[in-house]
């Protein structure tokens, strides 16, 4: 992001404002979902989908991942793989416990 022209920066600023409005709206949506009369599983799924959208907006636009160098993408791919293993360790323990 170091070779930006002033015009490009000004365009980015418009994007930042749009992303901010979207994040504020999605925060209200997240709270609204918690008041819906749905099952726990459905509530968790919906809330995590909205949180993932919000997280993606922050990462893509505020952290500029949408136009970053390939070195960073490889670093993050390795991180995501390790993170998923970490998250699925307890889930595998549950499967073992319930003998599915």
């Amino acid at each position: 992001m170091s070779e930006l022209t002033p015009e490009q920066v000004k365009n980015h600023i418009k994007t930042y404002v749009l992303v901010f409005v979207s994040l504020a709206f999605l925060t209200i949506v997240t709270v609204g979902i918690s008041y819906l009369e749905v099952s726990v599983g459905m509530g968790i799924t919906l809330a995590l989908i909205v949180a993932s959208i919000k997280g993606s907006l922050v990462a893509c636009y505020f952290m500029h991942l949408i136009d970053e160098k390939v070195t960073i993408y490889w670093t993050l791919i390795a991180t995501v793989v390790a993170f998923l293993i970490l998250i699925f360790v307890p889930l595998s323990a549950i499967l073992d416990h319930t003998k599915i």
Partner: protein, 196 residues
């Protein structure tokens, strides 16, 4: 001797060193918080019933805190964009607002914690409060760390703008990446602990 590649990109990575450094640091942070999220899943799925966050926690206050953090994220990125446009005064304003919002987050967290301690809800009360205090406490430590670094670049470290503006701008970009990560963690902590 000057430190190499603080402004120019390295030919092999395509990045200046500080940027690759902060991303590697953030990768380790993902694993730190990932371990705690993993512990949360383990605790939650290991019991018959798990309390709803609203039984112990204040959702309106946490929603306000969420709005404070996402606003601070946009002011942080605006402070970097201001430097890119050579507008140092706007940088000072946006960075100052970021600091104010971060402090407001801590003030609300202080009221939340003190209320819980007042009614006897300590981390030892049950597993829910144990993981709540662990995860939000670690997040608060990250907020405090961010405040210290942003404050440094807001007042004493800002002198670098006069001598080496490009390097200073890169430093603010790096601080911003850290700050957005702290916001990102809260985006997942909020529904996980308060709403589910």
């Amino acid at each position: 001797m000057d430190i190499p590649y603080t402004v120019k990109n390295r030919p092999d990575t395509g990045l200046y060193n500080g940027k690759l450094g902060i991303w590697l640091f953030l990768a380790s942070e993902v694993m730190l918080f990932g371990g705690l999220f993993s512990a949360y899943i383990f605790l939650r799925t290991g019991v018959e019933s798990w309390p709803s966050g609203s039984e112990y926690l204040d959702i309106p206050l946490a929603t306000l805190n969420t709005l404070f953090l996402i606003t601070s994220s946009v002011t942080m990125v605006m402070s970097w964009a201001s430097l890119k446009l050579n507008d140092f005064n706007k940088f000072k304003i946006y960075a100052g607002i970021t600091l104010l919002l971060a402090c407001a987050f801590l003030v609300i967290k202080y009221f939340e914690y003190s209320h819980k301690f007042h009614v006897g809800y300590f981390p030892s009360y049950n597993n829910f409060l144990g993981i709540y205090f662990t995860m939000t406490g670690l997040h608060v430590l990250h907020i405090i760390g961010g405040i210290i670094v942003i404050f440094y670049f807001w007042i004493p470290g800002a002198k670098m703008w006069e001598s080496d503006p490009e390097r200073f701008t890169n430093r603010i970009e790096i601080v911003g990446l850290y700050w957005h990560f702290v916001d990102l963690v809260w985006i997942f902590l909020f529904p996980t602990l308060y709403l589910l």
